[in-house]
């Protein structure tokens, strides 16, 4: 960072004082006192007009948004998008639920098939064999 400052003042202080520490301190004092006697700056006389223009611009944005929302075409499009999103979510969740039920059924059927394949003997059949 480049610092610019009053070189004339610094040079004077440098010549007057042999001690650089005092020079730095004196210069800092001068800089800190540089705001003494300063005046309050006046704002632009057209500030009020500019504020009104800014508020109108801001209002304009909201009004445009409100106008857009109140247009029938926009409203229909918004309703269509809303319904389409809801329908998609509904169908997708239904399809997922059906798939899950089918998987569960499939598992149960496989289990049933496994048990039906294995041979079962009744007590009577066992006694007859003997």
């Amino acid at each position: 960072m480049v610092w610019k400052f009053d070189k004339v003042n610094c040079e004077n202080m440098k010549n007057n004082e042999n001690n650089p520490k005092n020079g730095a301190s004196n210069w800092a004092d001068q800089v800190l006192a540089s705001l003494d006697g300063m005046e309050r700056v006046k704002a632009n006389p057209f500030l009020y007009t500019r504020i009104l223009a800014r508020m109108e611009r801001k209002m304009g944005v909201w009004e445009k948004a409100a106008g857009l929302l109140s247009k029938p075409a926009f409203a229909f499009a918004a309703v269509f998008v809303f319904v389409a999103i809801n329908a998609t979510v509904l169908f997708r969740s239904q399809a997922e639920a059906e798939e899950e039920v089918a998987k569960k059924l499939n598992k149960e059927q496989m289990l049933a098939a496994e048990f039906s394949n294995s041979q079962t003997y009744t007590l009577v059949e066992v006694n007859e064999d003997k």
Partner: protein
């Protein structure tokens, strides 16, 4: 027009009252903002924002403080927000330049010469404003309100929402930090 009346009129959406508020306090708002953002165009932009915000949120003004204190508070908040966003943009531009995404040079702004400073002290005050820009936000705000706006410690504490001893401490640290920075500058330059 009394302050209570003015506030009531503002809450009723009276445009004449708004104009009265702007013309009464525009210099105060602009001068405070200028001390903080150190750029005349930016200070005017912030001043506009302050009055728009005041108009929009006058309903939330409870009258616990003076209207001027409330306006000071909005000004300090908006100015510090502005400084933060400027820093963010500068940092982003620097990062972009590192990756070659932005060919524009990231340059430091020129020295700020406050128009209210007496002519023979302008150069010295430019060094002060440069050092002031490096202070922490609260110290910077306390210093500007006290030294540029000339508020007393109690008024500064009301604006910053803190106590008088806290403001005294902030100002003491601000002066100490400024002195350190200025002495370092002097040693580097000579």
């Amino acid at each position: 027009m009394g302050e209570q009346e003015l506030v009531e009129a503002l809450k009723d959406g009276n445009e004449a009252a708004f104009k009265y508020m702007v013309t009464s306090w525009q210099d105060m708002v602009y001068n405070t903002s200028l001390g903080l953002v150190q750029n005349e165009m930016d200070a005017e932009d912030v001043a506009q924002e302050v009055f728009v915000k005041a108009w929009e949120s006058i309903g939330s003004f409870k009258g616990e403080s003076k209207l001027s204190t409330w306006l000071y508070r909005i000004t300090v908040t908006k100015s510090l927000d502005y400084l933060r966003s400027r820093k963010r943009k500068k940092r982003f531009a620097y990062v972009q330049s590192l990756f070659g995404m932005n060919d524009e040079l990231v340059i430091d702004p020129p020295d700020f010469h406050h128009p209210g400073v007496v002519a023979e002290k302008k150069q010295l005050s430019a060094s002060l404003f440069k050092a002031l820009d490096l202070l922490p936000e609260q110290q910077k705000a306390a210093f500007v309100l006290s030294r540029i706006e000339g508020l007393n410690h109690k008024e500064v504490s009301e604006v910053l929402g803190t106590t008088v001893p806290a403001v005294e401490s902030l100002l003491q640290r601000a002066k100490l930090n400024l002195r350190k920075k200025l002495e370092n500058t002097y040693r580097k330059e000579l």
